[in-house]
Symmetry: D2
Subunit: 314 residues, 4 copies
């Protein structure tokens, strides 16, 4: 497998829309449609939801399924949609996966169950169950640190890539993730059809050089990340590094204040209505945070190809 090759089924910036809520904490469907639309218009090569950056860990089952439906519907086949099916148990992930298959998703992505985490010996059965539920849908393994993720060794990943036909893709963001990208490719060979980086795209250049076929970041500056990716894919690493460096302070701020940044930037850009998060302990921004976001947005202004306030017809 070589991420730099052109034949990948899934390739590029796979943006993760957040799950917008209204002031009562209810799902804001219109804002969700608008942010999906923004991602597609911004040139994202695919859409991934609901996953960690979508606050999937606090959605009820009904909300999970509704988010998936809206995302598939709004994307309308323009780019691939990968539905997040991580959950509290195999049964939950199977439920989400069956639904994803029914509504026409292009793939699913899962971490192992995350209230009690399975030991390594039980993880292949989990992914096999997800694969069966998907009835042929490609399955992405998300390799992620705890406490929500379950870190899996390159050897375990390679074994599942070999043994479960639908399991052919990895999103890698465990410890020392850029190294793992190399290790999994070396171990899995052709059993691996694509590996993407995570970590908000903060290590995208090295991931690309190591063979990653894309990245799955949050969506608030998806247009800027697409710009970086396209420079990479045009072979202009110097230009990519320059753009990436310019973008990095914003990506870092996102890493620090997470949900609040994913959403507040989208609010400031006029894409979603509220930055409310439902995750326990989510940060609440103060005036100085807002000043910093504004400074960072100004700094990356030239990279926001959709403009600071994109026009979205939803």
């Amino acid at each position: 497998m070589n991420g730099s090759a052109s034949g990948n089924r899934f390739r590029g910036v796979y943006a993760i829309p957040p799950t917008p809520f209204d002031d009562d904490g209810e799902l804001d469907e219109r804002s969700l449609r608008r942010v999906v639309e923004f991602c597609v218009m911004a040139g994202a090569h695919g859409i991934v939801a609901p996953v960690n950056a979508s606050e999937a860990i606090i959605l009820t089952d009904a909300e999970r399924l509704r988010v998936a439906e809206i995302v598939v519907e709004q994307t309308a086949g323009r780019v691939p949609v990968v539905i997040g099916v991580s959950g509290i148990s195999t049964a939950a992930s199977v439920l989400y996966t069956r639904h994803a298959a029914q509504i026409g998703a292009d793939a699913v992505i899962a971490m192992p169950p995350y209230v009690k985490h399975p030991p390594a010996s039980e993880i292949p059965d989990f992914y096999a169950a997800v694969a069966r539920a998907g009835q042929g849908l490609p399955v992405w393994i998300q390799n992620n640190l705890g406490p929500v993720g379950t870190s899996m060794s390159p050897e375990l990943l390679a074994r599942m890539l070999r043994d479960i036909p639908e399991v052919a893709f990895i999103k890698e963001e465990s410890e020392y993730p850029t190294q793992v990208i190399s290790q999994v490719q070396a171990l899995a060979g052709d059993d691996l059809q694509g590996i993407m980086g995570g970590m908000g795209g903060r290590f995208l250049l090295e991931e690309y050089r190591r063979g990653a076929c894309g990245t799955m970041p949050a969506s608030e500056v998806a247009d800027a990340l697409v710009l970086v990716w396209n420079a990479l894919d045009e072979g202009d690493e110097a230009r990519a590094r320059e753009l990436h460096t310019q973008l990095l302070p914003m990506l870092n701020y996102e890493a620090l204040y997470t949900y609040a940044i994913y959403k507040e930037v989208l609010v400031k850009r006029g894409i979603i209505a509220s930055s409310r998060s439902r995750v326990p302990g989510a940060p609440v921004l103060d005036a100085e945070n807002h000043r910093e976001i504004d400074a960072l947005l100004k700094q990356i202004g030239p990279l926001l190809t959709m403009g600071m306030h994109p026009k979205i017809n939803v």
Copy 2:
């Protein structure tokens, strides 16, 4: 509040039925009804489900609601039913609580959300939301260690007991739980209408002496625990201690092998059909474990007032 007084609305052994599954991992409704029936016939003073010992952390939302319905239906008002409404988010707990109110539960019990745990400052809002959703239902706070539970200080517990009228009961199993039972009573006074112990009943005698109005254990030897409780309530501490000591090796084995013991003992007693657990990493018993369970069951034979193989008409 004095747990030894007779006026408690909730008092005694509140048994927790497990959630039985069939060999495909599907909810085995008949076995669930049978274990609920066993608990009532065994003299349990109340029923609590689905909570930790019911594998609530791996049930889908639909399964959670179905378990609650069956438990309320099968109990049929003979003893109070406390529905477990802990979940991954306030929204999930609110969903379960509304349903509990609709189906006629007598109370709900909740830990704070458990994928990401709220900081102390956000916990009162969580319980207030549960209380509102219950439309007057009494609310139990379950004070429990991580990684699933969220340990709350006696001060925080007392503040919520004071500020949220429906919050009037505690199940205590945090660090140094017998001390906390005393501390919460001292701080909360009449705002606390009842506090029960947990920890499988292993510290029941001291909890009773400190004012606990009951205990919420698993159900596989509910008849034996009722015997201990009744001795306590008849004022015969010496007899209670003797019975409790005889029972303790079984309670300890349950603490070590958890779900496997809750269920396997019920299988051996002919009450449920399968000991299958769906919790990741749940123990799988070997031949020597079975030998030990048999030895322990023999040891506590005289305490099993329902007989080793109770006759249950469900």
Copy 3:
């Protein structure tokens, strides 16, 4: 290997004296000598220190070495001494092990480093370094749950038993420990020269039946545990179970209030001077705890072969 066989080099109750402090938190050497003497007089078959129950995790290096010296000196060859050499790094464990070899210890016991825990791939190097530092001293692996312990698989244990000649003994108290006792024996065969249980002796009967050659408990009721062990070794399992059941409420209370019980019982028995603990968050007993300890001591009075207040000439 068969724990029931008589040929074991280390066999029986290996008692762990606590590290007594005076009211300023300084090492109380006389009390330490007295509790070591108590253990030997009580019939303990060996002494283990400083380990978890000795608050080893909060001792300075100088204190660690001093405790080891006193324990070896006071035991004076009457029974084997196993020196605890777990520490914050390989360098620390090597330091303690070299010293143990110099002062004439009979073996050392170690968990992997515990501030940052090594991944499984680095653990054999740790034990190999300890083995080298011991210059021939037998090495015990302590298999223990986090956050202080590092849980190791039976496969990893067996590999180290095979590859590192000095590593020939296990203290097992990871998840599902009685099963692991069987699994390690099956995998390691003759590479394993002895495996002891931990968990305060609460599962001693099953451990014995599974082939354990002993147990490493705290010391405050060492005389009672020796009684149970000797019944087992005399082949009288029924008697052993009866004694063990009588003792279990005390062992459970010890499991709940840990350091406070290890020490307070020794204070009540007149063996050490103060129950002060230096471990952060260690419990402070209240009046009701004292009442419970007194009740438990009364219950096990007949098992305290040294008498409630043993006469110790130190």
Copy 4:
């Protein structure tokens, strides 16, 4: 307190030298002297060691004290030295603090004990003991996330700043650290004489604007960070942001591969002899990592005021 004011006793970039080891894992004293010398020559406004970035968690007590001595000796009063005294217990921190006072350190910095972490109620006693041991030395509180750090609320920090005269400084790197910098200043007023940021300097601009009087980063690009700080202190935020953005990819890489980057960059710059780390699980760099470091060093070349290969006379 206002970090932008000029009167701070401690102010600017307080660089943290790593603890260099030779190939046997022994302390490499010459390399340590050279990196201290580099920091001073690079314009660092102070030196901090041994702390997290110095692998303090795996040093024996003797090594801790030796590192402290060398750092004080080599710095020779040219800039203030803050000795790290975090340890496994109050006794350990007291030991290190007494020694720091004896050897002429300018201050000490401590996290609470980190094998078992104290509950909030015990933390003031810990810092009071450190303060007493310092005999007047200023004490910094390091507010840091787990598992090694203990996160303390702004309220608790303010209370200790008020109640313990020597405690007058904070290094802040808990959750949402830039917000905490504002919150502590608001709560503590004049009781706080200085607060520095951590997190490798990745959020330095916002920290400065919020009143931080400095930052405590690792040392491998100390010259570049001094450049950023000086631009800030000259009031040229635009220039500072430009420099900081240029530097950020390297700071991020350091955040991902930690010890390996702290040391390998210093090796590549000819300052220390080996990049060996003794922390369990520390990353081992592969060829692609080296390529990335080289690219990053090239990118920040103009910011390395000491030159890529500084001449150091030690």
